[in-house]
């Protein structure tokens, strides 16, 4: 297995959500390769498939014009801004050395992210309930979705997230959230972190990587999903 690595440049985070699903669908139907994506997005709140709307300060989101999007996977609400590094892995479940049980697979990928963060000089651990912590503070969360045996595992790493905005927009964070830069006390190059995650991932799965681009089909499906699903009233239901 060789893993295609992509850097997405979404104008809005919702475009990246649509693109992730497009890659998953094209992996399933059009022979797209297993893919590892990275992206950063403008400020927004992303809720899980089950919405968890009670955890979001809607009034403040509206006042500050922070858009709220719904993703395809489950899990809690997250605050996104340029201080986050997002990653997503799309792969055939039987093609990679990940268990088919999503909670075990999630734990393995969280551990890989924890190792990459540890490479920066922090003591990071994959948490039992999902995500990665550093010194008791959550620095990364993740979620998964499986479609016809193809996995989308995506997660977010708080590199230099605006924690003040996060605490006001997301009402219930069971575990305190911190950022890598706060814990490390210095600036972090997100590209370097992405490279470390990629390196740990390829070492774990005994694979190679290559820099790639979105195919025309993936771009087309992403645009269609964006218009017909991710920006639709039907999907967002608000």
């Amino acid at each position: 297995m060789s893993l295609r690595v992509l850097w997405l440049r979404p104008r809005r985070a919702v475009e990246a959500l649509a693109t992730e699903e497009a890659i998953l669908r094209c992996r399933l139907e059009n022979g797209s390769p297993d893919t590892l994506c990275f992206w950063q997005g403008k400020k927004c709140v992303v809720v899980g498939y089950d919405r968890n709307r009670d955890k979001v300060n809607f009034r403040l989101c509206e006042e500050l014009r922070v858009p709220i999007y719904r993703r395809h996977s489950g899990g809690g609400a997250i605050y996104q801004d340029k201080g986050n590094l997002n990653y997503s892995l799309v792969a055939a479940q039987d093609g990679i050395a990940l268990p088919t049980e999503v909670q075990y697979a999630r734990r393995i990928v969280d551990s890989i992210v924890a190792e990459a963060i540890s490479d920066l000089g922090l003591k990071a651990h994959a948490m039992d309930r999902g995500g990665v912590s550093v010194d008791g503070g959550k620095v990364s969360g993740s979620a998964q979705f499986v479609l016809w045996g193809y996995l989308l595992h995506h997660g977010v790493v708080a590199v230099n997230t605006n924690l003040n905005a996060l605490s006001k927009l997301i009402l219930t964070n069971k575990i305190p959230v911190t950022t890598l830069e706060r814990e490390l006390g210095r600036r972090i190059d997100v590209r370097k972190l992405a490279t470390l995650i990629g390196a740990r991932l390829t070492a774990t799965f005994n694979t190679t990587t290559y820099r790639g681009r979105l195919t025309e089909k993936e771009k087309y499906v992403a645009q269609k999903l964006l218009e017909e699903k991710y920006l639709s009233h039907e999907w967002n239901g608000c």
Binding site: E29, Y49, V102, V146, L147, W148, G149, K229, E234, W235
Partner: protein
Amino acid sequence: MPKIKVELFIAWPPTSLCTQLTEMTRRVAAEFGEQVEINIYQRGQPYPDWPTEGFMKLRKLIRLPAILVDGELLAERELPTEQKLRATIKKKLKK
């Protein structure tokens, strides 16, 4: 009056495999006439009918797609064969 309910849980919008599964289910169900009712739920869309208790219990755990017969999971993540679906429906109707 339908005797049993076949429930499909598929992606929204459906993938081509989801469409194949829907067509296959409709084809098999048609062999049993009004004894079998099909409910199709698309993930993220309102349910068109009240799902079975079995589906409600499984809906968060299920990996797409999934097919349930009378509230019992027949297959998930893969296409069941027509024979398997037909045999399961027959078995349920005999009860």
